[in-house]
Structures are given as C-alpha cells and as structure tokens.
C-alpha cells in the first residue's frame, strides 16, 4: 500500500494515514458546527502538538459552517440551514476529547511478536490529569477496555461501541511476516477499527468520563495484561457459552410491548440491518472492481511501454510512451480512489452493522429488566394468593410470613418498575443519539468520498489533456 502523495498534509500522523478517516472529519466539525464558545475555540489550542487531522474533507466542512455563523441548533432538519452536513447540536459536547491511533509498530519476532499502536489524546475535560498525551497500547489492551466497559455499562442499556475484530489468520500473518507493518492492509484495517472504537467511546457522554477509559488513555506504561481476552483462555470459553445462552434466551422470551416507540424501533433495526448489509456489499463490489481496473491499467502501461521500445516510427513510439504514462497515472488514481472508498465507506458501513449488534444488545437488556420486573409481579401475586389461602386455612404464622415476603416483593416490583423506566429512557436516548450519529457519519462519509473522487477525476482529466497533443503529433513531420 503506497502512500498517497496527492494530499499535502502537514499532520504529523500523515505518513501512516493515507486516507481520510471519517472520525477525523467528525472531530473537526464538532468544533465548527456548534455555537458554544468553548467548542469553537477548541481546535486552536488543542492543535499545538496534535493537529486534529486531515485537511481535505475538513477543509470543506468549516467553510460551509463559516458561511452560517448563526446556525439554528437543529441543523439536521430538512428545511435545512445553509449546510446539511454539520454535526447535530445534540451530539456536541462542552468539553472536547480527541483521540487518535497511529504508528503501528511490530515489537518482537515470531509467535511472540505483537503490534503496538500509538494512542494519543487531546482534551479540555477537567477530570484528565493533563490536556494531551500519548501511550503505546496493543490489541489485547483494547479488548480489555472493551470488556470492562461492556461489563459496567451494558446492563444499564448503554450502546457500547463494537469490539474490534479478532482475526487469527491476519494477526498470525503479521507476526510471521517480515514486511513493513505500516504498509499492511490488515494492520491498517485494524488500526482504523481501533481508532473508531476509541473515538466512539470518546463521543459517548458517559463512556468518555469512565475512569478505566481515562486510564487507558493516560496511564504511562503498560496496562495489566488482560489475559481474559485471549481466544482460548478460560474466560474466553466462558464468554462463548454465555453469549450462546443469551441469544437463545432472546428468542424464547416474548415481551409485551406497550411502548409504540420501541415497537417501531425493533422493526426499524431489523430493516436497517438488512439494507445496510446490502449497501455494504454493493460498495465492496464497487471498490473491488475499481481496484482491479486500476491494477490492469498499470499492467497495460507496462505493455504499452514495451510496444514503444520496439516501434521504429519515433512519433508513434513517443505516443505509446505517453499513453503508457497516462494509463499508469489513471490506474494509480483509481487504486487510490478504491482504497479511500474502502476505508471511508465500506469499513464505515461494516462498523455500523456492528453498532447495530450493540443496539440490539441494549434493546435486549431492556427486555431483561422488564422480565425481572414482571417476574417479581408474578411472584408477588402468587405470594398474596398464598397468604390468603393460609389465612383462610387458619395458618396465622404462615400468613404472617407471606405478608412479610409480599411486602418485600412489593419493594422489588416497585424497584423493578423504576429500573425498567430508567433503562427505557436510557435506551431510547441512546438509540436516538445513535440515529443522529449514523445519519451524520453516513452523510459525511459520502461527501468525503465524492470530494475525493472529484479530485481524482480532475487529475484524470489533466492526464488525458496532457496526452491529447502527443496523440495528435503522431502525424507531425
């Protein structure tokens, strides 16, 4: 994977990030789209050592926002302000937190080798011990963080950002290969996933404040090894069993849904998954064809050069050389476009499909809480009946015991209902947040892709315009 020399980025991370990551655009716009002074001022001071990312896509967002200083907060409405692409106000924060994952580096050799990533952050959140910094983390560290967050917050209905994927084959290849880690597609893909994971955490109102998350970003030196994340560990095996159990459970318990909003939402999630899946595979197909096209164009250029070397007619020979140059340039541009769309669009959609799994998990937690509540209600009813039977049967002590138990169950029912209301509110707000986020990210990614394509296409145009006079010269004296 070669570095693109087209984008002149003075970003210090530029050499490992060849394509615009959608999250970069997020971070920039979240400052530009909102009118709170803290947020708009933020990009400048935080930018001292850590420039918040790639110019090309970002360059288009600020000007759009700049033309509309008094933008109404509901910038997402279809009656639309001057730009439809701003981050919705409800997704922005008073305090900024920017995270990046860069510079993958292979440590060690053979099967014990691993890849370490540089994790950097920049923030105005007071709880952090310093405004910026960076640490080195490895893949298992990320998984460890995920497990902690998952355990702490899922049961309250929060949508946890999806776990970065394990891929035994890919990882082993990297361990064993002698190639430069930075150029590897697998490594790049993983790096992007890890970054997206952290960025999603940092964009979540509750997760971003979590102490484990903070420690992950701030703690200098290695984190305690989370051996529980290794695939064949005991904890790993247990996890597999428990996840099987829960999906079976999901199928067997039928909740009596009284809230129309949730009724509709369940339907929607299902549809959304289906359609996103199709969109994802069509984009993947597009990317693959385009990549093949680019590659073949480069091959063709090779042959055209060979033709030129044998051709005796000098003008014709030159024309073939120039044709080779042109097709090679076009091929290169197409490959770059394919790569950009792969990381910017295809991988994004893949990530959203994973997010929908998390969404489902949250919805399911709510069902579990509901079940607990209703189970308590049923137990209460039974206890009361038992008490009445005892009273009628003249067993005063047993009746008294039932009374006591019933009172306790009443408390449980009350708490159960409270928990259900609370989790319903949380899940609902989480899903609404997620919808806004999804819409924003999709729009931004598509616009970034088209902008990239526009630049590429302008280069293609230039290449052919340069070739035309050469073709015409074939018949010159």
């Amino acid at each position: 994977m070669e570095k693109s020399s087209d984008n002149s980025e003075d970003d210090i991370f530029a050499e490992t990030n060849e394509t615009v990551d959608v999250e970069d655009v997020d971070l920039n716009s979240s400052g530009a789209g909102v009118s709170t002074p803290a947020a708009t001022a933020a990009p400048a001071p935080a930018a001292e050592k850590l420039e918040p990312s790639a110019p090309p896509a970002a360059a288009s967002a600020p000007p759009a926002a700049a033309t509309a200083p008094a933008d109404p907060p509901a910038s997402n409405s279809s009656s639309g302000g001057p730009s439809k692409l701003e981050l919705p106000a409800s997704l922005a924060f008073e305090y900024l937190l920017t995270v990046r994952v860069t510079k993958p580096e292979k440590i060690g050799d053979g099967m014990g080798a691993y890849v370490a990533y540089k994790v950097s952050f920049s923030t105005t959140i007071p709880a952090f011990s310093r405004p910026e910094g960076s640490v080195r983390r490895r893949f298992s560290d990320f998984l460890g963080l995920y497990e902690k967050l998952h355990e702490k917050y899922l049961r309250d209905g929060f949508v946890i950002p999806p776990k970065p994927e394990k891929s035994v084959v890919g990882a082993t290849k990297v361990k064993m290969s002698k190639d430069s880690v930075e150029e590897d597609h697998f490594v790049e893909r993983r790096r992007a996933q890890l970054e997206r994971f952290l960025v999603r955490c940092s964009d979540h109102p509750v997760l971003r404040m979590d102490p484990d998350f903070r420690e992950f970003l701030e703690h200098d030196g290695d984190l305690p090894k989370s051996s529980g994340t290794r695939a064949l560990s005991g904890a790993g095996v247990m996890r597999v069993f428990s996840s099987i159990g829960s999906s079976v459970q999901r199928m067997t318990y039928k909740m009596d849904e009284t809230d129309q909003w949730f009724e509709d939402k369940n339907q929607e999630v299902h549809q959304l998954e289906e359609h996103l899946h199709r969109l994802h595979s069509s984009i993947e197909a597009l990317v693959n064809h385009r990549r093949e096209y680019g590659f073949m164009a480069e091959q063709f250029a090779g042959s055209a050069n060979m033709i030129s070397s044998v051709e005796e007619n000098t003008n014709l020979s030159f024309a073939f050389t120039k044709l080779a140059e042109t097709e090679e340039r076009v091929g290169r541009l197409q490959i770059e476009q394919a790569d950009s769309d792969y990381y910017g669009l295809a991988e994004l959609l893949h990530d959203h499909l994973a997010m929908l799994e998390s969404v489902r998990a949250s919805l399911y937690e709510r069902v579990r809480v509901y079940k607990t509540w209703k189970d308590a209600e049923i137990a209460l009813t039974k206890k009361r009946e038992e008490k009445v039977r005892n009273e009628l049967g003249g067993k005063a002590d047993k009746a008294a015991a039932c009374e006591a138990a019933a009172r306790e169950l009443e408390g449980q029912v009350e708490r159960g209902q409270e928990a259900f209301d609370k989790i319903s509110a949380t899940v609902r707000s989480e899903l609404e947040r997620y919808d806004l986020r999804r819409g924003y990210e999709l729009k931004t990614a598509i616009v970034a892709s088209l902008e990239h394509q526009l630049r590429q296409q302008q280069c293609v145009l230039e290449a052919w315009e340069a070739y035309l006079p050469e073709a015409k010269r074939i018949l010159a004296a």
Partner: protein
C-alpha cells in the same frame, strides 16, 4: 431476432484510408439481422465500374462463413502472395452477452424491479454494441479489399459482392480442417525458416525483427487492455446496485434530511455510472478494438513474410538442385528453368511485399493517430462531464 438500426453509427464507423482509387467502388453493410445462431449481413455496393459489374447498385445477403470463405480464397491465391491480405473479421460472438443475461435472470428475485430493469437495459445496450462492432469489422474487411489495387480486381470478390444467391459455403468439413491444421503446422515451420534464414536485405531483416517482437508485445497489451476495460465497465455497472441500495434505504428512513440526502446520492450514482460506462466503452472501442485490429493485421503482415520466406527457401533449394544437376551433368536445362522460375516467384513476391509493408506501416500510423486522438478527446469529454456532475452533486448535498 434482432434487427439493428445502423444509420446512427454509419458516420466514421469504418476507416478507409484512400489508396487513390477514388470512389468507383463503394461497399458498405447497410443492414444486419441476428437470428438464432447466425448474423446475416446485407452488403450494398455502389460502383461506376459498370462493364465489370452488371449494375451500378446492388445488394446481397451474406453470412459470416461466406466472409471467411472469401478470406481463405484470397489467401490461397498465389497471385496475391506479395500482398497483405486483410484479416478475416472475427466470428460474431454474443456468448458473453447471453451468459450475462442468463445470470441476471437467475438473480432476478434478489433485486428490486428497478435495479433489474436497469441492469437489463444495460445488458441490452452491451449486446447492441457488440453487434455494431461485428458489423463494423466485417465492413472494414470488405472496404480494404475494395480499396486494394490488386485484390479489388479479384473475380471471387466480384462474385461475393454480386451473386444474389447463397454461395453454398458449408462450414469447414474434415478435409478442410486438416488442411487448416496443416497450415498452422506450416506456421511453426515458417517460424523456424524465418528465424534461421539468412536475410541479406536490410529492409526485410528489420521487418522480420519488428513483426516478431512487436507482435508479442501487442498481444499482451491487447489482453491487458481488454481486462482493464472489462473491470472498468463492471465498476460502472456496480453503481446500479449502489444506487438501488441507497434508494431502498430512503424508504424507511425517519429522518427527512437523511432520506433526501440518500435519494440525491442514489440519483448521482445512476447518472455517474452512465458517464463511467460511456468512458469504459469508448476506451474499449478506441483502444482495445484498435489493438485487436492491429494484431489481426500484423498477423496478415506476418503471413506475407512467411510466404516470402517460403519462396526464398524454394529458391535456395532450386539453386541446390541446379548445382547438383550441373555436377551430375543431367537435366541441367530443367533445373535452370526451375531455378529461374523460383527466382522470379521470389522476386515478385519480395518486391510486392516491400511496397505492401511500407503502405501497411503508413496505414497504421494514420489509423493509430486517428484512434488515439479520438480516445483522448472522448476521455477528456467524459472526464469533464464527471467533474461537473460531481461538483453539482456535492453542492446539492451540502446545501440542499
């Protein structure tokens, strides 16, 4: 059955570099009909050479086999041994279009009606383009014969153009197939002769070198150009899927802004793919097809060099026979006559070949000039269109 309207593509469809014979014999394919397994071409001739031809204007219907038969007859004729015989046009082949159509039918249930209709009409356009191409290739073949000073006088050519009944050319029977194999067998022998023959003539030495090396590179370039264009076209067609998926997403999207956005994006994909499709097919036409034709023509030039090489070999063996005869003192006169005949044959071919090869080169420089220029111009035109569409779409998506 497919009746094809060729009127729109007639302008500049086929190239004829005027060899100075004026317009006294104009041949064109005015109509074409595709039925089942074969294509029937209607060939219309307009000529002022009336005593030779019965009427000034007339038409006949021919199948591809009859074209191939004509090509074979010309190639066999020793009179034309010194000429570059125009290569026989490729057999009309719609199998890939048919396969794609079949595959589309199989996948029909898994896509929306809209998507299916779009892919179907795209495939039909492809089929039509293939059809027009085969017509063009057959026409070019005839035109080159009509413009060649020697070949145009050929009687079999006249019969081909005029005889209004079926030529009763059955497809190759066993004997002819064996002969065909022998011919290719000869080719490898020819290759050996060509490479080992001592060539005193610098011109032909250069030609030999050029043709053999050049030919190899040309063929790789050609196969790569084909694959390149195929993937390019596939890229363009995939936009249909993307467009359909984006459209489908809008249907249940609660957020109006997002729905509108996706709808605009879907529309963009549809319009963009048409531009990309056209770019791909122009690249196919101007680049790949040109190379295809160049390869065929180089083949014909190669055949010419083979024939000359064979004649030279015959001459050299006649020389040896003459020496033997003189040594033995027997049948010297016959040997002398043979040697002289062989020499004459060789000489005629060689001289004719020299002129032919020079004009071959001239023709190709002109042809490449035309096609590469047109290629660049079309790519520029489409690129501009794409840039414009992208710019407009971005504005629309940003502003609403």
């Amino acid at each position: 059955q497919h009746h094809v309207d060729l009127s729109d593509s007639r302008q500049g469809r086929t190239e004829s570099v005027d060899l100075g014979n004026g317009n006294d014999l104009r041949v064109e394919i005015s109509d074409a009909l595709s039925e089942k397994e074969r294509v029937k071409f209607t060939i219309r001739t307009v000529t002022s050479l009336v005593p030779r031809f019965a009427r000034p204007e007339f038409s006949v219907i021919r199948t591809h086999e009859e074209f191939a038969w004509l090509a074979d007859r010309l190639a066999e004729n020793v009179e034309y041994a010194g000429c570059v015989i125009p290569p026989v046009p490729p057999t009309p082949d719609f199998s890939s279009s048919r396969e794609k159509l079949a595959r589309l039918g199989e996948g029909e249930s898994s896509m929306s009606k809209e998507e299916y209709d779009k892919m179907k009409s795209e495939l039909e356009a492809e089929y039509l383009a293939t059809f027009k191409k085969t017509v063009a290739m057959h026409e070019v073949f005839l035109r080159r014969i009509a413009e060649h000073p020697k070949l145009r006088e050929d009687d079999i050519f006249k019969v081909f153009l005029e005889f209004d009944k079926d030529l009763s050319v059955r497809s190759k029977n066993k004997r002819e197939m064996v002969q065909g194999f022998l011919k290719t067998g000869w080719k490898t022998v020819d290759d050996a002769i060509l490479s080992t023959q001592k060539e005193k003539d610098e011109f032909f030495e250069a030609q030999k070198r050029f043709i053999t090396v050049f030919y190899g590179h040309l063929r790789s370039a050609l196969s790569e150009a084909d694959r390149m264009n195929r993937h390019y076209k596939a890229t363009a067609d995939t936009y249909i899927r993307v467009s359909a998926c984006a459209s489908a997403c809008t249907k249940f999207e609660r957020d109006d802004g997002l729905a509108e956005f996706l709808s605009s994006f879907a529309e963009f994909c549809e319009r963009y793919r048409k531009l990309e499709g056209r770019t791909a097919s122009d690249s196919d036409l101007k680049l790949a097809d040109t190379l295809h034709y160049y390869v065929s023509d180089c083949n014909s030039a190669k055949d010419l060099l083979y024939r000359r090489a064979r004649a030279l070999a015959d001459f050299e063996s006649a020389n040896k026979e003459l020496e033997k005869a003189r040594a033995k003192g027997k049948a010297v006169q016959k040997a002398e006559a043979d040697q002289e005949a062989a020499f004459n044959t060789f000489n005629t071919i060689s001289e004719a070949a020299r002129a032919e090869l020079i004009s071959f080169k001239q023709r190709w420089v002109a042809y490449l000039h035309k096609n590469l220029t047109e290629l660049a111009e079309l790519q520029i035109k489409h690129s501009r269109g794409q840039v414009q569409l992208l710019t407009q779409t971005l504005e629309r998506l940003r502003q609403g």
